[in-house]
Amino acid sequence: MSSQHTSVLVVGGGIAGVTAAIESAEMGREVFLVEKSPTLGGRVSAMNQYFPKLCPPLCGLEINYRRIKDNPKVRVFTSTSVEKIEGNKGDYSVTVKITPRYIKDSITDPVHPFEQLEATLPDEYNYGLSKKKPAQIPHEMAFPFKPVVDPVALEDESTKAQLEKIDEVDLSQQVEEMTIKVGSIIWATGWKPYDASRIGYLKYDEYQDVITNVEFERLAAVNGPTEGKLLRPSDGREAKRIAFVQCAGSRDEAHLPYCSAVCCMASLKQSTYVREAFEDGEAWIFYIDIRANRYESFYRKIQDDEKVHFIKGKAGGIERDPESGDLFVISEDMENSDMVRIPVDLVVLATGMVPSTADDKVPMDGLTYDDYGFLVANPDKAVYPVGCTKRPVDVSASVQDATGACIKVQSN
């Protein structure tokens, strides 16, 4: 005989997932928030600033984390992934797998025991632009504020030996499986950046100083690989002249046919970084259409800046001068009936967002995905995608979505 559960499973601990979890709990529901990495925060916690207010993402996250900390109805499971979902609306059995942190529960100081370790692993938080220690707190605003041993580190014997010497480390911990019973499911697994190496003519693989928008965001962030200084990867020289190539692999039948909706605003925002960092900083934005739909005044402000140049033309090639180290962006400049070849220090490809569900489906039968891999809401099964799991959107719309999902699940 099946029972009706009113609890909610939220999968994904980014801004949409965190919002869905806390808003649901504040409506009186029990919530299980499951996140596969060791910390909540998702991709927004790796951003330097939000558009258009140019405010730090950690500000809003701090309020949300506080609400979660104060609310016993939200149970947070990090390093946890969903293996299997069985059952029906109102009565789901969700099997989750919890990867161990390999840190003793009795740990007190989360920071200093690991000071002596060297940074040897690629740091995904910085999109591989820097290295991290095999054991550490993921970053300053990690939630929970606890260290974790990256299982990859255990594949190297000498690293493993170093770790074993630390009291707070316990390598005997095992993977755990657990079953959670819930009534409805909010899927908030977000997105990953489109793989820029697939766009051959933009030379992402060939030139170190051609980077993506998410990587640039890390360069600009105070807790990033360059501590917020805009230095280019190849030689560390100041990136005073930056080109932004819009629609890099988006609005493109050979790559992502859809528009990711936020990359125009992201580049406008990022142009302010170079203008802030250097008095003679300059930016060129190569675009097809500027989609600043809800933030026209922000666009206007950037347009008024003489050192930000808008060039209508989809960039068709990047060249590099081995002597000066300059990169050249080749594009039509339609408004001036011209072809341009602009020398810059750094090229930022405004790549789009691919839903995580394009590759990682919900382990449940009977759900549908659209042509691009976005999950389709299924009210009959009480499964709701929110944020970028549903369609490419900015933070404001993700939060809107996630909040709305909380009442949609109420009808159980």
Binding site: I15, C59, N293, S297, S396
Partner: protein, 708 residues
């Protein structure tokens, strides 16, 4: 106040290495601790057991946990029936000061003394249940209003929809089709307006008041007295919370004569939609089917002389309307003159498909729309794609005009609030909210905006938006019923108490409250409305007579912390600074600085505030009269891109700072002893420099002459 206080000092996380713990414990005893103990790991089971057993055996009313930041181990140290003060000995001392030095010891001891000062004036707030009606008022019966109502009804609430027209459906009734037409884009399911109407009519939890407007809303959340007015009279209903779904109006095209409006065959997108709906797409001048139609995008939008903003959906609407033309007759030529084609997300596919129907897209500017022969329009434009002028003789011109929120010109709520009848505006008539992270949180508690009245959006998004606002409307009832605060201090049970006998009717609190929580009587005495209150404390900070206090957050609590600081005499050359920090960002920034191993000036004592807006200038007097050399305030930046979660807390603090600096000048004390620095949560690397630079300036000014 907590009668019996126990003090527990953790020696883990390097705290034990940093200072002489025994000395710290004796300071605790001197400060009046009933019990003072240390433990190597207070967060461990043994540590907690120790605390709990001491609470029980000593019947403690308050405990000081001198350990890590209050932002860490929140769950661990949640102890019932006792007031817990988290004295930050870790981030604010052990991790940011050199160990075993005199100044570090003095800092640690001050942290303990200040904790006692706080507990002296702290009571555990007891939430009071509030009776609720479980009814939500929805203003507007369009797609947004209907969706919100259905969501709320599903969640078990009663809903009253107030609709000024005689039917539900709002603007959607005027649409021929809803896009994305004929495309199987799962992310944008076509809203079925008729089905919505049926569901609403068939739902016995939802009442619709047709031809009705809201004459006034008095009271407060859970106690709204809503006066409804229709042709036949008035009636009053009770409501707990409100969803404003009053929708939009098209921009007034009579202002667009420069684009030809006023000539017979120039119509707006709304008028063209009506033609399509009526089944008669024809030239108004002679009723004939057009052979060509030219659409002008951004007609009166993205234009400083008209609507400066983008209405988000007019590009999509034009693409949809082109399909009407091609359905009617594929030979009809369709031109679009645009600045940018804004078809974001899945709408790119709509754009692509409509293009394939031979839409002629011209990026450019309209130079003139003149009347030609036989009612035709002669359109002159500059085509940016060729950099040539083009001349199009067309049968009809459709101006894609933008959306204006109803609230720009109409009052839809008529709140009987001292601060005004409507939701405070952010820009262009749209309601203000912390729109990036918390888009629903307006400046009026339990009143939420959704749909096109909040910002221009398409119908599919309106439905999602309605769900969000309905969720908030339901949630707020849930919290308010328990006597608790809503966002951002969710769950806060404290309420401000106003000692009105000492009120001088200066009206600062009633004016400054960011949420309009206070009404005023004829004399100007504030009338608190507890269920409107967000517990930020701006009123407490504003009041020159200091009549406002929260049981667990009040003037004396902070004053006592300041007074409990040990201030060395001027010859010691150990200045003292009290630094009040916004606990939402600056305090977190200090924690992060500590985590990163940054070192802080040892002469600074930190006091967290709920919001810089709760800063009361008396504390400056308290500090300076006690010989403290300077007062530093750290909080978020204000202005158009404000970060304050209470909207204007930091802005108010800045104004008050200006006032007090006048006072200081008159007292012959340097106004520079008071400083406010803007700190975002990610500015943790700047904190050491901020402290050092302030102390440097104070050194130049010399010690406070009021030191003993």
């Amino acid at each position: 106040m907590a009668e019996k206080v126990g003090c527990f000092v953790c020696t883990g996380c390097k705290i034990g290495d940093a200072v002489d713990i025994e000395q710290v414990l004796s300071v605790a005893n001197e400060s009046g601790a009933v019990v003072a103990k240390s433990h190597e790991a207070l967060c461990s089971k043994e540590g907690l057991d120790l605390i709990k057993s001491e609470i029980e055996s000593n019947e403690l009313g308050g405990v000081i946990i001198a350990a890590c930041s209050q932002r860490d181990h929140v769950d661990t140290f949640r102890l019932p029936n006792v007031f817990v003060h988290r004295a930050n000995m870790r981030e604010q001392m052990a991790w940011t000061q050199p160990p075993q030095e005199e100044d570090t010891q003095m800092l640690a001891e001050d942290i303990i003394r200040m904790g006692f000062g706080k507990l002296q004036f702290t009571d555990i707030p007891q939430p009071e249940d509030v009776e609720v009606h479980n009814r939500i008022l929805v203003v507007g019966g369009g797609v947004t209003g209907m969706s919100a109502a259905l969501n709320a009804a599903d969640a078990g609430k009663e809903v009253v929809i107030v609709e000024k027209e005689g039917e539900l459906g709002g603007f959607a009734n005027k649409l021929h089709k809803i896009f994305p037409k004929d495309l199987d884009l799962a992310a944008y399911p076509e809203p079925d307006v008729d089905a919505l109407k049926e569901k609403v009519s068939g739902n016995d939890k939802i009442t619709v008041e047709f031809n009705t407007t809201v004459a006034s809303i008095a009271g407060a959340p859970a106690k709204f007295q809503v006066e409804l007015k229709n042709g036949s009279g008035q009636k009053t209903i009770n409501a707990d919370s409100v969803v404003v779904a009053a929708g939009w109006k098209p921009y007034d095209a009579t202002k667009l004569s420069h684009l030809g409006y006023g000539k017979p065959n120039v119509v707006t997108n709304v008028e063209f939609e009506q033609m399509a709906k009526d089944g008669k797409i024809a030239r108004p001048s002679d009723g004939k089917e057009p052979e060509s139609v030219l659409f002008v995008q951004c007609a009166g939008s993205r234009d400083d002389d008209h609507l400066p903003y983008c209405s988000n959906i007019c590009c999509g609407a034009t693409l949809k309307q082109i399909t009407y033309l091609k359905d009617l007759n594929p030979e009809i030529a369709a031109y679009v003159v645009y600045k940018d084609i804004r078809a974001p997300g899945h709408y790119e596919e709509v754009y692509r498909q409509v293009q394939k129907q031979n839409a002629v897209m011209i990026k450019g500017e309209i130079e003139a729309v003149e009347e030609g022969d036989d009612g035709k329009l002669n359109v002159q434009a500059t085509d940016v794609l060729m950099n040539e002028p083009v001349f199009v003789e067309t049968d009809m011109v459709v101006l894609a005009t933008g959306m204006v929120p109803t609230t720009l010109e109409e009052d839809v709520l008529n709140l009987a609030y001292r601060q005004g009848p409507e939701l405070p505006e952010r820009e262009y008539g749209f309601p203000n909210s912390h729109f990036v992270c918390f888009p629903y949180e307006t400046q009026r508690t339990a009143i939420y905006a959704a749909g096109a009245v909040r910002m221009p959006m398409d119908l599919a998004t309106c439905i999602d938006d309605a769900a969000g606002a309905a969720a908030k409307a339901v949630q707020s009832i849930n919290l308010i019923e328990q006597g608790l605060a809503i966002h951002p201090r969710v769950g806060d049970a404290s309420l401000p108490d106003f000692n009105l006998s000492r009120c001088t009717q200066c009206k600062r609190c009633t004016e400054e409250c960011p949420f309009g929580a206070l009404n005023e009587d004829e004399k100007g005495t504030p009338q608190p409305n507890p269920t409107r209150c967000r517990r930020c404390g701006v009123c407490m900070g504003a009041c020159p007579e200091r009549i406002v206090e929260f049981p667990d957050y009040n003037i004396q609590m902070i004053s006592q912390q300041i007074k409990n600081m040990f201030v060395p005499d001027e010859f010691e050359e150990k200045p003292r600074v009290v630094c009040m920090v916004c606990e939402n960002d600056a305090m977190a920034a200090i924690d992060m600085a500590a985590k990163n191993g940054l070192k802080l000036n040892p002469f600074v004592r930190i006091i967290p505030l709920r919001c810089l807006g709760s800063f009361n200038i008396i504390w400056v007097a308290d500090a300076l009269s006690n010989g403290i050399d300077g007062v530093l305030l750290l909080g978020c930046k204000s202005g158009d891109d404000y970060q304050c979660h209470f909207i204007k807390g930091s802005e108010l603090c800045e104004t008050r700072m200006g006032n007090v600096q006048d006072t200081l000048d008159r007292l012959m004390l340097e106004s520079e002893r008071l400083r406010l620095e803007h700190v975002a949560i990610t500015d943790y690397k700047k904190i050491p420099e901020i402290f050092d630079s302030f102390l440097e300036r104070l050194e130049e000014l010399g010690p406070n002459p009021y030191k003993d």
